[in-house]
């Protein structure tokens, strides 16, 4: 394979990896504070994309001659806010109640919640059952560097994702709030004894994770120029896989997992003898094999059982 094509695939893989990593971070954050898998997270991503699209359509109809930069800003802001709010409401109303139920019940409940979100968008978003074209919010400038086409919007999205991850890193590791989040993740009862407001921290985590998911949704929309109501299913499954192969509860593991999954998909699409349609089959098969080799992921949570 020649270098140009390789570079193109690497860039493609990096974009996908960033998207998956952002979704996986949400899974791992929620698992950290509540010890449950919120499987509706993939659909939260989808809601984020639709919130952005809705805002765009509304802005276009009310202020047709508004500047693109402002449109972009408003879309991102509105989408993030809406999805943060959604995350908080769902966490308060449903997910925190499930804390004491067996893992299977929580998994199923959150999957059903995902179905509710999906169906709600399909039914109540205008023409929601058909794929929606996503507006080009970012300038479509591109450069050719040594034969490789670099799209400005991809670069911007990638940098945005990096900044977001960096921001989460700083928030979790350098602030008092982040310390509280980490404390709750480590031992919620002890954290409460030390005066940490448990519900507040959980809700904050959900706002944070959902906001990141909204960004991933917008990124997905801009990158593929199209969104649909069922895109959250596969994104959720991939995000969950990424979080698990990285090691649940570990943010850096989730990021690594996201890039690993994108890498596997890219390999499956280009480097293997069979058709590129099998890329997901290959990626999920490798995930299963990885789970057999390292049952708790790369950066495993420390687990010991007291009998």
């Amino acid at each position: 394979m020649d270098g140009v094509l390789l570079a193109q695939f690497i860039m493609n893989g990096l974009m996908l990896g960033m998207m998956y990593a952002l979704v996986a971070v949400g899974f791992t954050l929620f698992f950290g504070v509540l010890d449950i898998i919120v499987f509706s997270h993939g659909d939260t991503v989808m809601v984020g994309a639709f919130a952005g699209l809705g805002t765009y359509v509304w802005l276009q109809s009310v202020y047709p001659d508004i500047d693109t930069v402002w449109v972009c800003l408003w879309v991102v802001l509105a989408s993030l806010l809406a999805v943060c709010l959604l995350g908080v409401v769902l966490a308060r109303g449903l997910i925190m109640r499930l804390r004491s139920s067996p893992p299977l019940n929580t998994l199923l409940a959150t999957m059903m919640l995902g179905t509710v979100l999906r169906e709600a968008i399909r039914l109540f978003y205008p023409d929601g059952s058909n794929p929606q074209p996503f507006p080009k919010l970012l300038p479509d400038t591109s450069w050719v560097l040594g034969g490789v086409t670099v799209r400005l919007d991809s670069v911007l999205l990638f940098v945005g994702g990096l900044l977001l991850i960096g921001g989460i890193h700083l928030l979790i590791n350098k602030t008092k709030l982040g310390m509280a989040v980490r404390a709750v993740a480590q031992d919620s009862e002890a954290a409460q004894l030390m005066g940490v407001n448990f519900s507040f921290i959980v809700l904050l985590t959900f706002a944070l994770g959902s906001g990141v998911a909204a960004f991933a949704g917008l990124m997905n929309g801009i990158y593929y120029n199209e969104i649909n109501f069922s895109m959250g299913v596969l994104l959720g499954a991939i995000g969950f896989s990424a979080a698990v192969i990285g090691g649940l509860g570990n943010i850096y593991g989730a990021i690594i997992g996201g890039f690993v999954f994108a890498f596997l998909q890219t390999i499956g699409a280009v480097a293997l003898p069979f058709s590129s349609a099998y890329k997901d089959v290959f990626a999920f098969a490798v995930v299963i094999v990885l789970m057999a080799i390292r049952p708790t992921g790369f950066l495993a949570e420390r687990s010991s059982q007291r009998v």
Partner: protein, 382 residues
């Protein structure tokens, strides 16, 4: 309550169930269906409040053999009643197939605690195996039905290592990944018909083709009648077997593995052995059910075996009450018939249905018929 009264209660409730199912299946008008649903729910609520419900359950559990035969007879009457109604017979056949599959899931998850998020995939392995074998003309239909189960068991063996090594969420991921992989694979693989799927020849037994309409003397009926009768007999066998497993020392060992792995290992129970047994047994049941379902449906495509279908199977198990075979039968009937009967809310039915399951998990996580604690003394069973 004395014995004769309990038997009377069993008879009465079996008849009530039969009448309700016939009336409900016959109803087509939306207001009528709605009022039946509301009426049934209100009646059930009143019975629960007055303590009658508990008494009925106790009476039934004391005379399970009688109850089982009553239900079997009721099912036969139901089939006879609907003998020329394609649609109702097909629904009943679907209920039977799903029940067999969920009984398999029950052995895995309800008894042994092995998480399986790919039930529909094993169901599909059985269906596709039967379809491909019959299309090639390699084996007779009955062998295809058996081989569907064998194949599902073998495919399950591939997942054994990761499933055994992982637990909880991690185990869920392995089976979930398999379910997605399986579906994508069917979609893109041309030799399995791709997204369009494949036609499946009809079942036949002792030279009787199940694809033609029934003419037994003066009785004529839909071709689904043969399928339903055959599947009903198979379901009865599976049901008895699964109940026997539950009540035997095997079930005891499986319960122990589910409840506490460490403790059961300390008591000398071989955890790996029981997990493997339960997982394989469940998969074989799903595969055989899938093979029958495929032959009854005559046409299968990847859309029949998606991840959401696996979720449906799990929801049925949870709704019925984890580990309770009767609960499985009840919940399957509800989950299969309700969406069909709720056609009038067409668009909104999946939304309502997922909300229903969600509410169920939050407010009655034990399911409709929670599994009863194992009876140890013999006087209670007598």
């Amino acid at each position: 309550m004395d014995r004769s009264r309990e038997i009377f209660v069993c008879l009465l409730s079996a008849m009530a169930l039969l009448v309700f199912s016939v009336v409900f299946l016959l109803a087509e008008d939306e207001t009528v269906i709605g009022s039946y649903m509301v009426g049934g729910a209100v009646l059930l609520w009143i019975m629960v409040r007055m303590g009658v419900y508990e008494k009925v359950i106790t009476a039934v559990s004391h005379h399970e053999r009688l109850w089982a035969s009553l239900v079997f007879i009721a099912a036969l009457i139901l089939l006879f009643f609907f003998r020329d109604n394609h649609y109702c017979l097909f629904l009943v056949g679907t209920i039977f197939c799903y029940t067999i599959a969920v009984l398999g899931l029950n052995v895995q998850l309800g008894y042994t605690g092995v998480i399986n998020f790919s039930a529909a995939s094993f169901f599909g392995v059985g269906g596709y195996t039967a379809g491909m074998l019959l299309n090639q003309g390699l084996v007779p239909p009955f062998a295809a039905f058996i081989l569907g189960g064998v194949m599902a068991g073998l495919v399950g063996c591939v997942l054994l290592l990761p499933v055994l090594r992982t637990s909880g969420h991690y185990s869920a991921l392995v089976t979930m990944a398999f379910a997605l992989l399986f579906n994508v694979f069917l979609e893109v693989n041309e030799s399995f018909g791709g997204p369009q799927g494949i036609a499946v020849p009809s079942f036949s037994l002792f030279g009787v083709d199940f694809g033609s309409d029934v003419e037994w003397g003066s009785i004529t009926g839909s071709f689904y009648l043969r399928y339903d009768l055959f599947i009903l007999v198979f379901l009865a066998i599976v049901f008895i077997m699964v109940r026997r497993v539950e009540r035997s020392w095997m079930g005891l060992a499986m319960d122990a593995v589910r409840l506490d792995e460490t403790a059961s290992a300390c008591f000398g129970i071989n955890i790996v052995r029981w997990k493997v047994t339960a997982f394989t047994m469940g998969n074989v049941l799903m595969g055989m059910a899938g093979a029958l379902y495929a032959m009854m449906l005559a046409y299968i495509s990847p859309a029949n075996f998606t991840f959401s279908d696996s979720l449906l199977f799990l929801s049925i198990l949870l709704l019925g009450g984890m580990g309770n075979c009767w609960g499985v039968l009840l919940a399957t009937s509800i989950m299969v018939v309700l969406p069909e009967k709720l056609q009038f809310i067409q668009e909104y039915r999946y939304l309502l249905y997922s909300l229903l399951v969600l509410l169920m998990i939050v407010y009655r996580p034990m399911g409709l018929l929670p599994r009863r604690t194992r009876v140890v003394t013999s006087e209670d069973v007598a």
